[in-house]
Symmetry: C2
Subunit: 347 residues, 2 copies
């Protein structure tokens, strides 16, 4: 059977069905990160994610420093989504013979600068040569107070849906710099182009906001938006057994995404819903705790907005537009948009 | 600068020089695994290693189950070399579009069978598509009693050098099945060919022996032999600031390695010294504790032999042959032998 028939999530489910566990595994495959109990009061949080040339970055679009930054940032984002503190990283490098040492120096400089900013120590790794593309596999370990981690599975009908930051800018970056590579850049201002590019190549993991939300006591479910708001909201709905109603006008579409989308004759909301790689946090907040959660994010230096609410599972995933119309939201993500760099359902 | 100018270890040193650490990092880059102190009395042990098609395995030589087995086994071996207990694994899969789901089922079956044998839970991972070869990046976490882990750096002049199992069989497998692919197999018995192939594709990590040696209290330094006895002994000498004298006649050359080497007109001892991928343990044992260490390995179900002793740094790495001649041992490993699948110093 071809992989496309299953897709990324189907394949993971197939390969991990009926896994033997251990009593010290609090949460295994299927969330942003694993939760492990070494018996010390705090839980260990573990995640890994790869950045592969041609799939997750493209030479010439991202600088070496940006490639290193993003390899760690996408893992920090998963630790943030558990409300945890990042601690230790291991890096497995798959290295084509053509890569110069000076290029790697710069990749590691970008990675180390971000690690330093978050107090993460690089403690191990591996270097292997490959006939394939350059790849960086980062494993990141973190810590969270036992019981305080936020899984995807705790959303309840009536919860408010809250998202940090703005959405769609990374997808705008792909539209402007990857899908249209070789063409004229879209007719938008330099500031919007710069913001879209930065969102794509140097995402900012929401570590402080994640910890603020995790310790607020009012967040039932949380994840980071890597595949796109619609797809990742679908993960919360599936894991929690709930539905959702989004308010289209409340979704914080990034201004640069709006500019780029208009220049490309696309709906900005489509970038925010299905673009992906935003690395913002999406969470389900108990109705009585909404102001508390918003204040906690603000105190951490971030911004957050209520974009809808959690409903009963039978309602599915819906969105109310400005004129009151309610339509179904499909949990499709990045790969349908990202034509030139993403054609199969596994990225 | 090209990578070859630095080699694997030079490159790692360059990329990790002056790393910022944290007070809870007991041992960072440069040993078999990192030692991390989550503050629970026990230390966390973390390691990662990749298996990449065309470098570490070849379709048609190894079965899918064997590919999965080896991806975990090489990581288990690093945990064994710290005297630790393996607990949790994360797997990052780099997946070319051509790989069928049924092939992956079998890879994971091999991996899960070995995980089950050692009580390891698969707790997370990632799947990414690649235009390059199939690769499995495994991160393995384990636990060891605080202070009881065995680094590479604690060997002292006068210590005995002890190795588990036999050496050279995996290199014989490469000679018979990879370097000579397409040629007639070497003229050796079926049992020797089978043993050489098994050593190459399904190495047995010495978890029980590693824990027995680690808790014996008489082992000052330990690592697993992945690059070859000479190269890995070089690592102990460099990390501990010592020299070594090997007794050629005491080195447990595998019988299959001897058969295959003779059929290929090679010196069996060269396979044992420079072949690599043995995944046996090499350790420096305090002189008064040698019998205790050998008994501990025997009780764990393994075998071990004294193959020389640790000397002063100025003596370098030497070997005494049967006729009393003493010659220098170069710390060269696998890549010089493995011509067809290994031509650069980074594997």
């Amino acid at each position: 059977m071809g992989q496309d028939a299953l897709g990324e999530f189907g394949l993971i489910a197939r390969l991990t069905t009926g896994l033997e566990s251990r009593p010290d595994v609090v949460l295994g495959v299927g969330d942003d990160a694993a939760l492990l109990d070494p018996g010390a009061g705090a839980w260990l949080v573990a995640t890994c994610d790869a950045q592969i040339e041609g799939r997750h970055f493209i030479h010439g679009v991202a600088t070496p420093e940006e490639i290193g930054h993003k390899a760690l940032a996408v893992n920090l984002s998963d630790i943030a989504a558990m409300g945890a503190e990042p601690l230790w990283a291991l890096i497995s490098l798959h290295l084509p013979a053509s890569v110069e040492v000076e290029f790697l120096d710069r990749v590691y400089a970008g990675l180390r600068a971000l690690a330093s900013r978050h107090g993460v120590a690089l403690v191990g790794g591996n270097v292997a040569s490959t006939e394939g593309p350059l790849a960086l596999d980062v494993t990141l370990l973190g810590r969270v107070r036992g019981g305080a981690a936020v899984p995807r599975s705790g959303a309840r009908p009536g919860d408010a849906l809250v998202v940090t930051g703005t959405l769609g800018a990374a997808a705008a970056g792909v539209l402007a710099f990857v899908t249209r590579a070789g063409e004229e850049p879209p007719a938008v201002g330099a500031a919007a182009l710069r913001r879209a590019r930065e969102a794509m190549v140097t995402p900012v993991p929401r570590i402080a906001a994640g910890q603020a939300l995790g310790t607020s006591g009012v967040v039932g479910a949380m994840l980071d938006i890597s595949d796109g708001l619609a797809s990742d909201l679908g993960h919360i709905c599936a894991a929690s057994g709930v539905g959702a109603l989004l308010e289209a006008e409340a979704i914080p579409v990034d201004a640069a995404a709006t500019e780029v989308a208009h220049a490309c004759a696309l709906d900005p909301l489509a970038l925010a819903l299905h673009g992906g790689e935003d690395y913002e946090l999406l969470c389900a907040v108990r109705p009585e705790g909404v102001q508390l959660a918003l204040d906690a994010v603000a105190r951490s230096g971030g911004a957050a907005a209520v974009i809808g609410r959690v409903t009963e599972a039978g309602d599915g995933m819906l969105m109310r537009t400005g004129d009151g119309t309610i339509r179904t939201v499909k949990p499709r993500g990045w790969d349908h948009l990202r034509r030139t760099i993403e054609t199969c359902p596994i990225k």
